[in-house]
């Protein structure tokens, strides 16, 4: 047991010591005391692995990641301390960054790195030896998303469409529907038809859920963008308001969906897992979901209607927006040597294996878990296509549809590339449910969200 009473007592006395000189010691942790990670010459790939790299991930397939980390250690010698973070991932990571903890490689989402970089908590990837090559191979939307203040902020962990519209063919057949909706209005009209037909009591599952990550703010932004409504302009300036229809009408439709009981009960207190499990349980006609979960829905071990779930084609209007996982590296004042080790690990996970020159980990993610990647070469590789076609229903029809989702997706860059995206998203996750369940006036909610953005711009711009 690492924790003996003696070491406890020793640390305790340190604590007592710190209590005495507490003020000055603690004042040092009040804010970022180091500037944004300083630039420097491009690093060389380390010849051998040294030290232990701390890697922090959220709870997706921990065993898979552990296996890859083991392979990395076997191949390159660098040890990996892998930790799975529970609960509010962004807040917890932000707390740890703020505490200057050693985070060599950790997951981030698109809306997180801008603020963290401004705070000086991140090392960008400008000094990564294969930066130019990796950038050249990225999907344009991914490269654009990962470029913050003109610098490459990290390497892609995954890239897929959040809010890809999935359908349960079984329910649609029972309801006698045979044409795909092309707009949200058509979608909601079909949903009502399904309910009327008796094929499903709750035919639509929107991303109204809110914990521990957020569904509803992303659902809000993506549907508005899909409908062509202006959302956030340059510098995060809100371009929506409570007076010009637009998002107000959209939220009005949401409230109708909710009050007409077209959506499952309790959806507002769903966790992300409920959102997925409920759709997988069958009986729901349409749901905007994470594109990669099409595999989950068609997996007989996790789904009751495996083989029935397909993606709805995009005909004119897009469904959903780009969603991105990113490998980031924390700045805790580490040496160039340690930074190079972190890059080396990021390269292995988020780009090519230096030794074989192949996309080893990305290809495995895409083939085994349908986790599409930020590189076209991976997503279109014969290995991945073969693996996907093996479980994909109506593969000849669906494969091009899935590729089309990835071809030119929308991205909420206006919001995501602000220092305050996380704070606005958190606020939106509290406000939007009130518009849906009638707790608050819709116009008031929209005004609150606009004013929140304006206030944040002012505060962060000071």
């Amino acid at each position: 047991m690492e924790l003996t009473r003696r070491s406890f007592v020793k640390r305790m006395s340190f604590a007592a010591l710190a209590a005495g000189v507490g003020g000055p010691v603690l004042a040092a942790c009040a804010g970022p005391d180091k500037g944004a990670a300083a630039g420097g010459a491009v690093l060389k790939a380390p010849a051998s692995g040294t030290g232990t790299m701390n890697m922090r991930i959220w709870g997706a397939y921990p065993e898979f990641v552990k296996e890859r980390a083991r392979e990395f250690t076997d191949s390159y010698g660098t040890k990996v301390d892998l930790g799975v973070v529970a609960g509010d991932y962004p807040s917890i990571i932000q707390t740890q960054l703020r505490q200057n903890q050693k985070l060599d490689l950790f997951y981030g989402l698109g809306h997180l790195p801008k603020g963290w970089n401004t705070a000086g908590w991140l090392h960008d990837y400008e000094r990564f030896w294969n930066k130019d090559k990796a950038e050249a191979e990225m999907l344009p939307v991914v490269r654009d998303a990962l470029t913050i203040d003109g610098k490459l902020i990290g390497l892609p962990y995954f890239a897929f469409v959040n809010g890809a519209l999935f359908a349960n063919k079984q329910v649609l057949a029972t309801a006698g529907l045979d044409s795909w909706p092309t707009t949200y209005d058509e979608l909601y009209a079909q949903v009502r038809k399904v309910k009327k037909s008796g094929a499903s009591d709750t035919p639509y599952l929107p991303s109204f859920w809110s914990a521990p990550y957020y569904g509803i703010p992303f659902g809000f932004v993506q549907e508005a963008m899909n409908r062509g409504m202006p959302m956030f302009g340059a510098g995060g300036k809100p371009e929506f308001d409570e007076n010009s229809g637009g998002v107000v009408d959209m939220l009005g439709q949401w409230r109708d969906l909710y009050s007409e009981n077209l959506v499952p009960k309790g959806v507002l207190t769903f966790q992300e897992s409920d959102w997925i499990e409920t759709f997988a349980a069958g009986g729901i006609a349409y749901s905007p979901q994470l594109q990669y979960d099409l595999r989950t829905f068609n997996d007989p071990a996790k789904s009751k209607s495996a083989g029935q779930f397909v993606a709805v084609p995009q005909q004119g209007q897009k469904w959903g927006m780009m969603h991105m996982g990113i490998y980031l590296t924390g700045n805790n004042g580490q040496s160039d040597e340690d930074l190079a080790q972190a890059y080396s690990m990021a390269e292995y996970f988020g780009y090519r294996d230096r030794k074989s020159g192949e996309f080893v980990v990305p290809t495995k993610w895409a083939a085994e878990n349908n986790l599409t990647q930020g590189y076209a070469e991976v997503n279109n590789s014969p290995t991945v296509e073969k693996a996907v076609r093996a479980w994909l229903p109506d593969a000849d029809e669906q494969w091009p549809i899935l590729k089309d989702y990835m071809a030119d997706p929308q991205y909420a860059k206006g919001l995501y590339h602000t220092d305050w995206a996380l704070e606005w998203v958190s606020e939106a996750s509290r406000q939007l449910p009130q518009a849906v369940n009638g707790d608050a006036d819709i116009k008031k909610v929209v005004r609150t969200l606009r004013e929140k953005a304006e206030k944040l711009i002012e505060e962060y711009g000071e």
Binding site: G22, D33, S91, R98, A119, A211, D419, P433, N437
Partner: protein
């Protein structure tokens, strides 16, 4: 765990023969010696951090830009002037009331029942400790499987009864539903508290009351209640304080939702402190909550003691 090994006060100097030393000093000194470790520990790990958070509550800082400034009482003024704060405080009080009422009813009911003789009494006595033994977080997970309209036990029962499974965690019912979980978990502790006392009430008192023609409710009021007032007060303080600062349950089951319907003050503080990383205003609200809880606790405790003592006097 051997109890004898753990009670030696670590501060007894070994150079002086113990027997004489501990007897030579005054009672007060001896007492101080025994209390000293707790005082020290409390100062370092409770008082100091709390004082530090008082300082933080007087500052305002932006997590990203790192700009921090002293703002005096501004955070307090902002909190007290915001409708959301009062809404969450009201929800907290409502939650506390629900939890204490449900918890007390169950605890008292269990204790009164367990005083009776019936088949399987010993087994039941052992079983009721189970909810208390699990973590609030686990209890929340457990009740997710009870409440879910998709796969919950409640849904299964409603289906059998031919009803439409209802959403228990909806706006109107979410607070009582959460309070029920809390009460389910903590009532056993109260039941044990009360049972220990109930068993001390002489049977003769009840017999006398019966002879005098006092009815069941009367016997409860005049015989039972005076005895259990004090353990009840202790239990209420415990569970009330627990409820006022409850976090895990809400975090897991509703995250303050739907739409803020279960956003109690302690959850609001969590959002402000961790999600928004506004340490200053989070600390200010913590302090307001702390003052409210302490005032209620101490106030209640004093009242309960006074009433308790009065009853004792009345008896003798």
């Amino acid at each position: 765990m051997t109890s004898t090994a753990t009670v030696a006060p670590p501060h007894t100097p070994s150079t002086t023969p113990r027997a004489r030393f501990s007897s030579r000093i005054s009672t007060n000194r001896f007492g101080l010696l025994l209390v000293a470790p707790v005082v020290l520990l409390t100062v370092v790990i409770v008082i100091y951090p709390v004082a530090y958070s008082l300082w933080i509550s007087l500052t305002s800082s932006n997590p990203i830009t790192g700009r921090s400034r002293f703002v005096g009482l501004e955070n307090y003024a902002t909190a007290l002037g915001s409708g959301e704060f009062w809404r969450t405080l009201t929800l907290t009080l409502f939650y506390v009331v629900c939890v204490t009422v449900m918890g007390t009813v169950v605890a008292l009911g269990s204790a009164l029942l367990l005083r009776e003789k019936f088949l399987g009494r010993r087994v039941l006595m052992a079983l009721i400790v189970l909810p208390w033994a699990l973590s609030t977080y686990a209890a929340a997970v457990v009740f997710r499987y009870v409440y879910s309209p998709q796969f919950g036990f409640s849904a299964a029962v409603s289906e059998r009864l031919g009803l439409d499974p209802s959403n228990i965690l909806a706006q109107g019912s979410v607070i009582p539903a959460l309070a029920l979980v809390h009460a389910w978990q903590f009532a056993p502790l109260g039941a044990y508290f009360l049972l220990a006392t109930l068993q001390m009430i002489p049977e003769d008192l009840y017999k006398l009351a019966k002879v005098d023609g006092v009815r069941l409710m009367g016997r409860f009021r005049y015989v039972t209640l005076p005895y259990i007032r004090l353990p009840m007060a202790i239990f209420l303080v415990l569970i009330g304080g627990q409820a006022a600062t409850a976090f895990d349950l809400i975090y897991f089951l509703t995250s303050g939702g739907p739409g803020g319907s279960s956003r109690t003050l302690s959850f609001f503080i969590y959002e402000e402190t961790f999600q928004n990383q506004r340490l200053g205003s989070g600390a200010a609200m913590s302090w307001i909550l702390l003052v409210v809880v302490v005032a209620l606790t101490v106030g209640y405790y004093k009242v309960a003691l006074r009433v308790g003592n009065r009853d004792m006097k009345e008896e003798t």
